[in-house]
Structure formats: structure tokens, C-alpha cells
Symmetry: C2
Subunit: 333 residues, 2 copies
Amino acid sequence: MGGDIGPRVTIPASIKALEQDPMLSVLLFGDSQQILPLLENLSSALQERIKVCHCTKVVDNSQDLSYALRHSKGTSMRLAIEAVQKGEAQACVSAGNTGALMGLAKILLQPLKGIERPALVSLIPTINGDRSVMLDLGANIDCSAQNLYQFALMGAIFAESCLGLVYPRIALLNIGIEEIKGHKSIREAATLLKQNPALNYIGFIEGDLLLNGKADVIVNDGFAGNIALKTLEGAAKNVISLFKGHSTLNKTNHICKFIGRWFVKTFLLKGSFQRLRQINPDQYNGATLIGLTAVVVKSHGSANIDGFAYAILDAAQQARYNLPEKILAGLEK
Amino acid sequence: MGGDIGPRVTIPASIKALEQDPMLSVLLFGDSQQILPLLENLSSALQERIKVCHCTKVVDNSQDLSYALRHSKGTSMRLAIEAVQKGEAQACVSAGNTGALMGLAKILLQPLKGIERPALVSLIPTINGDRSVMLDLGANIDCSAQNLYQFALMGAIFAESCLGLVYPRIALLNIGIEEIKGHKSIREAATLLKQNPALNYIGFIEGDLLLNGKADVIVNDGFAGNIALKTLEGAAKNVISLFKGHSTLNKTNHICKFIGRWFVKTFLLKGSFQRLRQINPDQYNGATLIGLTAVVVKSHGSANIDGFAYAILDAAQQARYNLPEKILAGLEK
């Protein structure tokens, strides 16, 4: 029940997801006084697929991470992850603090065997209508060469499983394509990737080619990945808002609306599981914490109802797809 | 005479700059056998403002930086910087290797008193038609809190001098706006910035708001800055190329061309010295190495003729404007 807006978004989003996915049922962790009024007018069929687990405590965003984790007992985020740990739920979705979600998920759900650090992974659209896998998007701000190498491994399996790709092309995000460019960790990760013939490592990629489909898997530390993804989102959002009706556009408003719709459509991003998402970050929401023994999906803190519903549907599909088991099997190969 | 394309771009660009700026004269460092044929049909008035300084050696991009610097004697890049050092030229423009340019400029031209590390600075356009100053854009990939603090100081003086701003708003690029977010160096730089009442520090900024004019000066290490800038450039380039004629757009081609032109116009970036530049990186070229005792401008390696001409004109204006002296005076205040 975290996120920037809270139950006013997450409850209608949950209802929307239940309507769209008839096999889904949800446990809602949060303040029942806030939640129950939002469920009042539902059909009994939908009511039966919702269980409200009352709690009032939330993870404290203003404290540093280790304090927040030490004092997380009884928070909605921790209870939701514990429900997955106990097998009461098959996936957890949260719009709360990324660091706390990662920290609690690592403690309670454990990383997969051999994985030092789980990572945040998402799909990004490409100009030719395909999608690329990008990780880490903010879970690990400092990464060793070994971490980056493991992200590449997991990203490749994710691309194979979710996008159906064979021998996906892997690139490391860097500030140049020459071998001498970038942080030592990136250069060493390149060496590790080259040594594994099972991986299709194609070299460094720069920020200007992120949308060009040059690589199927783009690997970076969480700081660079978060900066790049948010910069892309901001650029897309600005362009869309310009087309929706910039003040200087009054004269050409009907054309702009047309082009705006076309732009959104051109950049349509097919979800990893046959759903459509848009590059517009309002509509394109949910990054998976990959490398854990269970499915955990992080929603944007500021996601709207559609966005949070997408994250829930995505989590459900990943659980049905046994994504963690698929990753583990791929790692063991 | 470096850069990805060489004299075929840099010579026509120099001629273009000479035509546009009647006070300008240029020294061209490179292979006279390649350069002289490109100058043959020029008027004698233009010929008189060009001096060709023959050399055939170039900085070796394939070697690591320290090797390249040790073996730089007699290269076109080093000779050009030495000309500035000797007072034969007032500014140096290069499309060569950024690291080598920074390294040689630091050795030969020296950083300004009190500046540990010069930085690459450029202007970025904002959605409301203004501009923001952004630094570092790739000269220093690892930065201490003190480095970032000095970048903020120099960026603020640059914004005051070149954009005419009073008390420019300074922000640090980060992956969240909460105080606990990001690398330790960024958090410590925030503390340093808050302690200086002469600086208008407004907090962290995320990648999605880079174009929104929330800050006049955006400060980051060279790795994050380079990733963010190139990502912005790539997004803009892709949108523009889509509007120029995507295969799916044939039916709406005339509308798209119209909107494409409008987009480029809306994102027009007024140059720091009353010239217009576009967000399209082909047209928007030249970052200044700020914090040195003389003017050094780095062009994109892949700049076209217009782009390289812009970089030359910009360097000339900065030299006339005594930008290094202005930065020094600001630092001493």
C-alpha cells in the first residue's frame, strides 16, 4: 500500500487487474480503513478473489536503508514478501522504496544459487518495433565486473524466456565503444563476457543507440541504468506532452494530436507476455527483481492506475511462467 | 585534423566558420597533402586568414591514455594546443579523443588556480525554450565530492556569464531526490553545496526532468553525464528520424515533415553566444573544457561540416569573451 499515492491508485489498479485476469486473486496489505471503502461496490465474485490483510505500518523512506530494514517488521512491504515466502502468494508487487524492496526480498526470498546480487530488469522499446532487455535499473548502484557478468547471464536468459530470442546479443552500456573506455569494472566485465562462448557478447553500446535495437540485452550498473532509463522516459514524456498540446501548438493542434497518437502507437511496446505497453512511462510500468527465488515486481512510485495494474498482471504472468526456475535452470546450464 | 572523418569535414567547416565570422583566422594542423587541395578554389582574402601547419602524426586512439600522451609529441592535437600555449592561437578546437585532449590541455595549458579537474560543459535545451548548463560530460569518469562541488562552482559562473543568469539554480544528477540516494560522492557534494550560501543549490534531479528547466546547472560525473547526454541525443535523433520518414509513415509523410520541422524548431537551442543550435546532435556540437587557463572546445568525433563549424565559432566567441578569466574571477570571489 506504499507508493507515492497509495490505495487510491493501488486498489482500483488491483480491481482492474482482477477484471482483466480471471485466474488472478490478490492479497492486499495495508490499512483496511482506507482499503475497504474502495471495495464496497464490487460484485461478490470479485470480492471473493480479494483478501485484505490489515496493517498500518509502512517502510520509512526518510531513513537510511539499514535502519528501514531493521525496523521493517509488520510493514505492508515486509508482510507481502513474507506471504510469498510462506507460499500464500506466488508473487509480490510493490510501488514502495526500491532499496527496501530489494533488501527485504534478498533476506526473505534469497537470491538464486550462484547469484551475488539480484537486479532490476525491464524491457525497453526499440525504434523498429522490437524490445530490448535492460538491467540493472537501480537496485545496485555500485557493481563489480562479476556482478555485471551475472546481470548479462540473467538478462540473456530473460530475453530467451520472455522474448523467445535465440543467442541474444549482449552489450555493456559505456561512454564509448573502444576497449579502453569506461570504468574498470565495465572493461573487466567485457573480458569475462568474451570468455564465455555461450554468450553472444557484442561489445559496448552508448546511450544514443539504446532505442536502436543494436543489442537484445543491455547491461549496466544500477546508477547508469537508472539515469539512462529515466532520461529516455523524460524525453519520451516531453515529446508526447508537446504533441498533446504545447502552448505554441494551438494552430496545429489537430495535427499534433494525430501525430501524438501515432507516436505513442509507433513506440508501442509489446509486454513480455503478449500485452501492450507504451513508451510513455505512465503506461509502461513494472520492473522485475531478477535473480530471486520468487517473483517480485517493482512498480514506479508514481504509477497511475493503469500502470500499477500492468505491474500486477506482469507479476502474475511471470509467476505462472515460473520465471525464477527458468533463470535458475539457465544458470545451471 | 582528427575526428572520425578528418579533413573532408574539418576543412570545409573551417571555411564556413571563416565566412561567417569575418574577425576569425585559423591555424590548421594536419597533413598539408590532404588539406591544400581542399583550399584551392578559395578567394585570396580567405586564403590569407588560413595558415596550414603541416604534420602527419595523430594521437593514437587505440592505445591507452597514458601511452597516447607519452607519444603525443608532434601530433596535430598537441601542436594545436601548443599554439595556444605560445599565444599563436587564442583557442583550440578538436574532434579527437576526449581523454587525450583533456590530458594534453591539462599538461600544456594548466587548470585554473584551485581547480583539481577541468570538466566538459555544454548547454542542453529545455522544453520551455530555455537552456541548462550540464557538466561533466565525459572528461572525468570517477569524481570525488570535491570535484563535483568545483564543477557546480564553474557551472554556475558559466551560466551567469553565458546565459546572463543571476543566482542560477544548481542540481546534482541522481537516481532519486531523497537525501539518502546515490553514490557517497554525490551525497557529500550535496552537503558541500548546501554550506555555500553564494550557490543556489536546489537538490537532486533525476534523468526524467533534464529537459524540463528545473535547474540551470546540472552537475554529474563524466560517466553519468555522458550516458545521460547521449541518451537524450539518441532519443531526439530517433524522434526526428521517425518524423523525417519512417517506413510506416508514407501516408502521413507531408504531415510528418511539417511536424518534424516544427519539432526541430521547438527544440531550437540558442547557442551560448546568440547563435541557434538544434537538439539534433548533427547540428548541436561542441563542448567546452572548462577550468583551463585557455579555451579548448571538443567537437563530436562524428560531427558534420555544420557541427564542426559551430564548434569553431563557439571557441572564437569564448576566447573573445575571455571565458577562462571570467571563471577565474568567479572562483576568486
